[in-house]
Subunit: 222 residues, 2 copies
């Protein structure tokens, strides 16, 4: 592709990247708001997160449509082809990160109004911060097609896993008082949701490697 | 595409469908084995499930490679294009169903050796049976490109959600004895894993609708 058509193609790829970045930015806000709603027992904020998830579902469809359109009209090869395929996989991860933020918001609404800052719950904002940073870094690696940045994301996954284990231990202790079982489980669940968000970020980072370093499919097995 | 090339293309699509069906069959076995390991506290069987997951990861890569190869070499349009794109999304769901089966197997290994068939745990096999059937039906709808079969899958998701709520209630009760908290959480987690398997089956069914009824991308927005 040359000249005018090539420029159009570049514009379409740029639009697709911008949409993925915008979805990622929305995810980050949803995670941060959901955790704040959880910490501060802010039901109105939790409901905003649940509401915001609607546009995530639309975004996934739009990313897929844009990618399919590029595949149909531009018939890209090599890295551009892998980029379009990776984009439809990444949109799934982003949409599910939105679902996890909704899960956190739902647990926030269910929490008992007392005991505002329990010890196990106090670890969640740090987990959320790290998971959010992983997502941001993974998406930047994605749109910059930078495999080395993507590999940095993997390193942070261990820290999130360690925090998850720590929260689980604290929760088991916390729930020895039967009146705290339901809330203890909600905190555990939120830790699990955050761990899954980190996993989704890791998935996106893995796709960057596939996209940048993937074998030429014409010589691939299959 | 006509004649010989058309036949080759049909063969490639068939191979891709067969691989997805094979992945789905493996998932079903893993789910059934993981739940049996959980019920019977069979650590050896649980370890087999964990081992079986390795080939799921390879399968996801192979499906994606086959789909990308079809996109690159055949440059399909319309429904075939959407099929190839849906296949790379479905492979993600199947790989993650494998991960959920591994999660169940890991909880099976951790369970206390006593109290073989607790009341909340006794509901898991039914949940697993329903989630496995949803997966089978979703994949059949996928390879048969049958939107009406796909819609049947959605109806069964509610039954799995109801079972999940039931197990959660039973678990909260079960954990009132503090010595049972850890096992109670493991049972809850397994119910959550099964509910997620049902969600993945639902995602696959949704992709069938996109594939069969998707708008012509040349007139799509984006």
């Amino acid at each position: 592709m040359r000249g005018h058509t090539h420029q159009e193609f570049e514009t379409e790829l740029r639009n697709l990247k911008d949409r993925l970045l915008a979805m990622g930015g929305r995810c980050e806000h949803m995670i941060a708001d959901a955790i704040r709603a959880f910490e501060e027992r802010d039901e109105a904020l939790a409901r905003e997160v649940i509401e915001a998830d609607r546009s995530m579902d639309d975004d996934e469809v739009l990313v897929d449509e844009q990618a399919v359109r590029i595949l149909a009209l531009r018939q890209p090869v090599g890295r551009d082809l892998r980029f379009a395929v990776a984009a439809v996989k990444a949109s799934t991860d982003l949409e599910r990160i939105g679902d996890e933020a909704v899960n956190i918001a739902e647990r926030a609404i269910e929490m008992e109004p007392t005991d505002r800052l329990s010890l196990p719950g106090s670890k969640l904002p740090e987990m959320a911060g790290r998971a959010g940073a992983m997502l941001r870094n993974a998406l930047n690696a994605f749109v910059e097609e930078d495999a080395s940045k993507a590999r940095h994301v993997f390193q942070h996954d261990d820290a999130v896993d360690d925090l998850y284990t720590e929260v689980m231990g604290l929760c088991l202790d916390y729930m020895k008082d039967p009146s705290r079982i339901a809330d203890g489980m909600r905190i555990c669940n939120c830790a699990k949701y955050l761990e899954r968000i980190a996993d989704h970020a890791t998935n996106i980072a893995e796709m960057v490697i596939f996209m940048v370093e993937g074998r030429d499919v014409r010589h691939g097995k299959g």
